[in-house]
C-alpha cells in the first residue's frame, strides 16, 4: 500500500528585496516521490539541496514565509494542513537530525512523551526506551547530558512512541561515525519491517544502501531518478540518469571520481530544461527547454531524455 505519494511538489520562499518588492525563490521544483508501507526509501541529495524542506513540507511545518504547490497524498487522501495537524505526532513522525531539536531546558523524557498533542504515559515511554537500550534515568536527563549515540536513539524513539505509520528521518546519520550510522539506519530498517513507511533523507548514500528498498536521487531541487537500491551496484549501468551514475562512481569503493561540476543545490535560474545539462556529456538541444518528462523504466523512473 502506498502511504505517501508526492506529485510535482514545489516549495518556495518569499523574500523582500526592499520595502515593496517581493520575490519568490523556488527551493524544490517538481519533486515526485512515493513510499509504501514496509518500505524504506532513501532520499539522496547533497547538503543544502532543500532536503529538509521536503520533510517539513510533508509534516506541514514549513516556515511562515514558505509556500508550496503540488499534491501530497497520505494513504490516498489529500494531505491538507488540517490533516497534517491531526496526524503529526501520531501517524506522522519526524526524526530530526541533531540535539538542537530538543529543548535544552527540558528533561528528555518529558519532551519525548509530549507527542500527538497529548502526554504519553510513563510506562509507554519506559518500555520504548528499554527497546532502544536506554536506561530509565535517561528520562530525567537534559539534552546536553546525552552522548551522541544515546541522543540518536532518543530521537529515533520519538517516532516509535506515537506508533507512526509514516516516519520521515532528516539526516539521521549526519555527524556519526560509520558504526553508529549503521546502527541508526538499521533501526529504521526495523521500523519499516514492522510495517511503517520510512523516508530517510540523507547525503550519505553509502550507509543507507544496504538497508534501503529504493533510492530517490535529488538534484537541483527535483527528483531525477528513483531506482531500486540494487541498481547501485557493479559499474552502475543499471542506473539511468548520468547524475545517479556519477554519485555511484564517486563512492570510495568505486572509482572515486567525483561527479562533474559542483553539485547544484538550487533549481537553475530558468526552471526550464534539465538541471544537470551543464555537466552532462549526453546533453542535447532538447535538454535545454521545457520540463524533462518522467519516464518509467522497469522498477523505477527517471527524468532524462537520453534514458532508455
Amino acid at each position: 500500500m502506498t502511504v505517501l505519494e508526492i506529485r510535482n511538489l514545489s516549495v518556495f520562499f518569499s523574500r523582500y528585496y526592499n520595502w515593496f518588492r517581493k520575490r519568490t525563490e523556488a527551493c524544490l521544483n517538481g519533486l515526485e516521490l512515493s513510499v509504501g508501507a514496509g518500505q524504506l526509501v532513501a532520499v539522496i541529495g547533497s547538503s543544502g539541496s532543500g532536503k529538509s524542506l521536503l520533510a517539513h513540507a510533508v509534516m506541514g511545518i514549513l516556515p511562515r514565509n514558505a509556500g508550496w504547490s503540488g499534491q501530497m497524498l497520505y494513504k490516498g487522501e489529500l494531505l491538507t494542513p488540517q490533516l497534517q495537524q491531526r496526524l503529526r505526532g501520531r501517524e506522522l513522525a519526524l526524526v530530526p537530525q541533531s540535539v538542537s531539536y530538543l529543548n535544552p531546558l527540558m528533561q528528555v523524557g518529558k519532551q519525548v512523551r509530549m507527542s500527538g498533542g497529548g502526554v504519553r504515559s510513563r510506562t509507554e515511554l519506559r518500555s520504548m526506551f528499554r527497546r532502544y537500550g536506554l536506561e530509565s534515568q535517561v528520562e530525567r536527563m537534559y539534552p546536553f547530558q546525552l552522548s551522541g549515540g544515546m541522543m540518536r536513539r532518543v530521537l529515533v524513539s520519538t517516532a516509535t512512541l506515537g506508533g507512526a505509520e509514516l516516519i520521515i528521518a532528516d539526516e539521521p546519520t549526519s555527524g556519526l561515525h560509520a558504526e553508529l550510522a549503521q546502527e541508526t539506519v538499521m533501526r529504521f530498517r526495523e521500523l519499516a519491517d514492522e510495517g511503517s513507511a520510512v523516508l530517510l533523507i540523507t547525503h550519505d548514500l553509502e550507509s543507507v544502501l544496504p538497508y534501503a528498498d529504493a533510492i530517490a536521487v535529488l538534484y537541483g531541487g527535483t527528483s531525477i531518478e528513483v531506482a531500486p537500491a540494487h541498481y547501485f551496484s557493479g559499474d552502475g549501468t543499471m542506473l539511468r540518469h548520468p547524475y545517479s551514475r556519477a554519485l555511484w562512481t564517486a563512492l570510495p569503493r568505486n572509482e572515486f571520481t567525483p561527479p562533474k561540476g559542483k553539485p547544484l543545490v538550487r533549481p537553475a535560474r530558468s526552471a526550464a530544461g534539465c538541471p544537470y545539462r551543464e555537466y552532462c556529456e549526453s546533453a542535447s538541444e532538447a535538454c535545454r527547454s521545457g520540463q524533462i518528462p518522467v519516464r518509467r523504466v522497469n522498477e523505477g523512473w527517471v527524468r532524462c531524455i537520453d534514458a532508455t
Partner: protein, 335 residues
Amino acid sequence: MIRSLLKFLLGKMLRLVVLLAAISILSFMMVKMAPIDPVQAYVGADLLKVSEAQREQIAAYWGLDQPPLAQFLTWGSAVLKGNLGTSMTFRQPVTDVIAERFLSSLALMVSAWALSGLIGFAAGAAAAMNRNTWVDRMIHWYCYTLAATPAFWLGLLLIMVFSVWLGWFPLGLGVPAGMAADQVTLGDRIYHMFLPALVLSVTGIATIALHTRQKLAEVLDSDYIIFARARGERGFGLFWRHGLRNIALPALTLQFASFSELFGGAVLAEQVFAYPGLGQATVQAGLRGDVPLLLGIVLFSTCFVFAGNMIADLLYTIIDPRIRSRDGGDPLEAG
C-alpha cells in the same frame, strides 16, 4: 544540593563583607575629601550668629575634631556593634531614618520594578512574535528612545505636562502637603507615587523588552520549536512550554540584577519629584556632609543591590540545568 547551596551562600556572605568594608573606606575618604564643611552645613544659614566656640562645641559633639582615621575607627567599631550612629541632618538614629525612608522608597521601587518588568516583557514578547513587522520596529524605536532618555529630564517633562499644564497629578511630595500623617489615605499615596514610579520604570523597560525580544525570537526560530510542532504540539501549550518558560525566568533574573539601576534611578526620580524616599535622603546627606547617614545609606544600598544580584545568581542555577550540574548539584529529582 543543600550542601552546595550552603557553600554558595557562605561564599556570597564572605564576598559581601569584603565589599562592605571596601565600600565604607572608599565612601568615607570621598566624603572627607569633599569641599563641604559639615559644621557649616549643620548650622545652615545662621552661620553668622554662631561663635567660634560654639562651632568647636558642635564639632566636638559630633566627633568632627578628631583626625579622619580616628573618626573612621570610632564609626567602624560602632557599626560592628550594630550602631550606625546618629544622622546630623535629621537628628535621629541613622537606622530609623533609613527604615522610614526606605519604606516609602520601597513602595516606589517595587511598583516601578513590577511595572517595568511587566511592560517590558509584554512589549518584548509582542515584538518577537511580530518580528520584522511594523510592531517590532515601533517597539525597537521606542526602546532605543527610552534608553537614551535621562530619567530626571523625563521626570521634569512629566511634571510639566501632567502636573503643571493638565493638573492631573500633584507637583511632588509623597503625601498631600499640610495633611496630618494619620489622615493620609492609601489612595493619596498612590496618587503621589504615580508619576515618580512611571519615570523610574521607564529606564528598566527598554532593557527587559530588548532582552525578551531577542531571546523569544531565538526560541521561535529554534529547531526545537520545529520539532515540537512536528510532534503535534501547538497553540498556547507550545508557546508556554518552549517559549515563555524558556525566557520568563531569564527575564526575571535580569530584573533582579537591575537593582542598582533601580536604586540609582530612585535617587534622581525622588529628587525631581521631592518624594521623601531614601534617594532624596541620600542627596541631602551628601550635600550636608552627614557622614553617618551617608555611610549608612551606602552600606544599606550595597546590601540591597547585592541581594538582588544574589537572587539573580540563584535563579540562574535553578533555570539552567547546565549550570546546575557544573556546580555539582543534582538535577531536580522531581519529575
